[in-house]
């Protein structure tokens, strides 16, 4: 298990330093890139939250207080209030004139239908649009402009303006103006405050906002009659609400967005001909007051900077919305996959247990055949004695232990020789890596059944005997044992223990039932020597030689099974850095093995059966699902920051409950005490994130064609020191 590349061991000082430096540089670049991508994503989500009014939800309304501060001349006069140039003037439309106004659009469904009715009756109207909606549907805004309708500002996100600081009010106007300018090429200074109605409803909280609106060059537009179409009282009532008193002019409020506006559309179709019959003419707000506003033009020139800002805003909102939509879709995919996996695990694992624990269950006649146990070792002095002793003193009738020492320099071989066990052989080979060491072991094995065991793993006395019993079935080519984490006193060990128990007791039972076991673990696995030879021994083409070999055996038509009663304890990484290295190699190696055996997807026979059943399953649940897992955390953080916090926390807890129930089932099936499960909620906060970051890292390495080397893990000897 040396750190090697090709024929060269990389732990020689001079060689290692140069490579390590370049590796560190590459790693640093990747972290910087990941940080920048995260930064961009955060920005997009912030833009999305802003464009969807999630900073200041538009349903938050404050009490405006009294009306003493609002001039009586304003409260009792016309709906168009001009406070520009420090003056205050109010205007009515001319008699028998109606200006239809529509708030909250554009809406992709209702605005075109409203336009259709207006077109049918030859009427032009004023649409007070929301900037974020214009950004989402610029084509509708363009269409409004083309058909001669007028656009006014109804802010960018429809907040209660009086509750906002002045700078926020300012950008609500200027941004909406910019997107209107970009999408239609024209603009007017007309603005309508969200939640405004008749001027008589103006209160002390909103009057300063109206004056400020004028200071910024905008004319505030209120209404004479409110159709109250938002309440959906029926088309006739809407038309009646909108109808001005006989002969009087009216700026009338309708809505073309914010819900089902079918009644509004029907009401317009009744209202317009009826008003025309009564001698009313229809106009836009600007045209209606043009004569009176002669001193200050209602039309303004579009500047280039406004066009650029408008374009940036439109695209920022579109990209932010798109990003959020993708995240949302991915969240659904993750949810469906998680649920499907849980149901499959429960269904198949329980079936597997029922079958295996049935009184009539047997692999066939007992298998007392002699076994060679191969232990590849590189600098394993801390653990090797315990491993070899546990193997050599097992209850199986004839065990030969063959330790292949991969050029250790810490006295590993001496440690074994010191044991003086008669059925133990040590072979010293030049450094070549684990796969090469195992191949030497397979070549020198004296028996037809070989068991491969890691040098940091201690087996139970009957483990080897139990492990080889499935060979009673001549179709079985390999058997996976049940590996547990031995060093689980610390939190990291406990997390890995939970993961191992779930992996071995649910995942492996599922794979066993489906006949597509992806890996016979290197820590404890038994093979027919002929089967290993048949698939060309262990390959160095991947870093997960055990997965690669298992897939090869599947393709050669051998059955691979799981024997849960063959139990071994292994030493799991004891630091985050070690864990990262181990999982990085595992996930990279698994992807390598899948890619190497990809032809199984299109082949016939057992290879095709494994390829079409096993590979997609492994790709979906072992690669795609963990790769998409970050979506859960991103949406959870977004939800807590901008959505309903209670709902978000409930959703997150629901996922946790699914995991706890899954873990409890696995622990119960494995007859393990439940106590370590208290660490499971904490696992969601550090461990899970490390796992998916490792996978992302492996995917990047695979895409870029980088070469990953075997990394030697530091052994503490904790498992070896435990009483057997």
């Amino acid at each position: 298990m040396g750190v090697w590349r090709g024929r060269q061991r990389l732990d020689e000082p001079g060689e290692a330093t140069g490579r390590q430096r370049s590796g560190r540089r590459r790693l640093r670049r990747r972290w910087v890139l990941a940080a920048v991508v995260t930064f961009v994503l955060i920005n997009l989500l912030v833009v999305d939250a802003y464009a969807n009014a999630r900073f200041t939800p538009d349903h938050k309304r404050s009490d405006g207080g009294g009306t003493a501060g609002v001039p009586a001349a304003v409260r009792d006069d016309g709906p168009v209030v001009d406070t520009r140039d420090g003056q205050t003037a109010t205007y009515h439309l001319p008699e028998r004139t109606i200006a239809l106004t529509f708030d909250d659009g554009p809406d992709p469904v209702w605005t075109p239908r409203v336009m259709q009715v207006l077109r049918k009756h030859g009427v032009r109207a004023t649409f007070f649009v929301i900037g974020s909606q214009v950004s989402r549907h610029p084509e509708i805004s363009r269409e409004l402009g083309r058909e001669g309708h007028e656009l006014g500002i109804h802010t960018f996100t429809h907040p209660q303006l009086a509750d906002l600081p002045a700078w926020r009010r300012r950008i609500e106007y200027s941004q909406t103006r910019a997107v209107i300018a970009y999408t239609t090429g024209v603009t007017t200074p007309l603005a309508r405050l969200p939640y405004s109605s008749h001027v008589s409803d103006l209160d002390d909280a909103n009057w300063p906002v109206v004056r400020e609106t004028g200071q910024w060059g905008y004319v505030s537009v209120f209404n004479d009659t409110d159709s109250r179409d938002w309440a959906r009282p029926g088309p006739n009532v809407i038309a009646r609400n909108a109808t001005p008193e006989d002969g009087q002019s009216a700026v009338i409020l309708f809505h073309d967005a914010g819900g089902d506006r079918a009644q509004t559309v029907t009401a317009l179709d009744l209202f317009i001909p009826e008003m025309k019959r009564r001698g009313y003419r229809f106009t836009t707000v600007s045209e209606g007051v043009r004569q009176q506003l002669a001193t200050s033009s209602t039309e303004t020139r579009v500047t280039r900077s406004e066009l650029v800002r408008g374009a940036l805003l439109v695209w920022a909102v579109k990209i932010a919305d798109g990003t959020f939509l993708i995240l949302w879709l991915l969240l659904i995919v993750v949810g469906v996959l998680t649920l499907a996996r849980t149901l499959l695990l429960f269904g198949f694992a329980l079936r597997h247990v029922r079958r295996r624990r049935a009184p009539a269950w047997s692999w066939g006649p007992p298998v007392p055949d002699p076994v060679t146990v191969i232990v590849p070792a590189y600098n394993e002095r801390a653990t090797i004695a315990a491993t070899v002793r546990s193997l050599a003193t097992g209850t199986h009738p004839d065990i030969e232990v063959l330790v292949v020492d991969d050029e250790s320099d810490d006295g590993t071989a001496d440690e074994i020789e010191r044991l003086g066990l008669p059925n133990v052989r040590v072979v010293r080979v030049p450094a070549g890596g684990k796969a090469a060491a195992l191949n030497v072991g397979v070549g020198l094995a004296r028996h037809d059944i070989v068991v491969m065991v890691d040098a940091d793993t201690v087996v139970e006395p009957n483990a080897i005997h139990r492990l080889v019993q499935p060979f009673a079935d001549p179709k079985v080519g390999a058997v996976a044992g049940n590996v547990k984490v031995g060093n689980r006193r610390r939190l990291l060990g406990r997390w890995q223990h939970i993961e191992y128990v779930i992996g071995f007791n649910l995942d492996r039972r599922l794979y066993d039932t489906l006949g597509c076991m992806p890996t016979v673990p290197g820590a404890l696995g038994a093979f027919r020597r002929d089967a290993v030879r048949q698939v060309g021994d262990l390959s160095r083409a991947t870093l997960a030689e055990d997965t690669d070999l298992t897939m090869g055996l599947h393709r050669a038509g051998w059955n691979i099974v799981y024997e849960e009663s063959a139990i071994a304890r292994t030493e799991a990484p004891s630091s985050l850095a070690q864990l990262w290295r181990q999982r990085y190699r595992w996930s990279y190696g698994t992807m390598q093995a899948m890619w190497r055996h990809r032809r199984a997807l299109i082949e016939r026979g057992p290879s095709g059966r494994f390829g079409r059943r096993g590979l997609p399953f492994i790709a979906l649940f072992s690669v795609a699902l963990p790769l998409l897992a970050p979506v859960l955390d991103i949406v959870a953080i977004y939800g807590v920051a901008f959505l309903d916090r209670v709902e978000t926390v409930i959703a997150w807890l629901a996922v946790l409950v699914i995991q706890i129930v899954t873990a409890m089932l696995a622990f119960r099936l494995d007859r393990e005490p439940m106590r370590p499960l208290w660490a499971l909620p904490l696992q969601q906060i550090v461990y899970r994130q490390i796992m998916y970051l490792v996978l992302v890292h492996s995917v990047v390495t695979a895409l870029t064609g980088g070469q990953l080397q075997w990394q030697k893990l530091r052994r503490t000897g904790e498992v070896a020191a435990q009483p057997s």
């Binding site: 890139l33 920048v36 961009v40 700078w167 200027s174 941004q175 083409a541 190497r596 064609g705």
Partner: protein
């Protein structure tokens, strides 16, 4: 004195029959992907900077309606 090595007992080094999966020893794939990633990220950063700049202009140096 070091023992002379009998050439017939020297270790034979045989290259693996299958090349390591995914590995691109030329580094070309990595370079191309790195460049593409840098360009994309730079473009995203420039666009973001422009959006925030436009926002800043709105807040601090707002162009009036007229």
């Amino acid at each position: 004195v070091a023992n002379p090595t009998d050439p017939s007992t020297q270790v034979l080094h045989v290259d693996p029959p299958t090349a390591a999966v995914f590995v691109d020893r030329s580094g070309r794939r990595s370079r191309r992907l790195r460049r593409a990633a840098y360009w994309l990220v730079a473009l995203a950063l420039v666009l973001l900077a422009l959006v925030w700049l436009a926002l800043g202009l709105d807040i601090f140096g707002l162009p009036a309606a007229n």
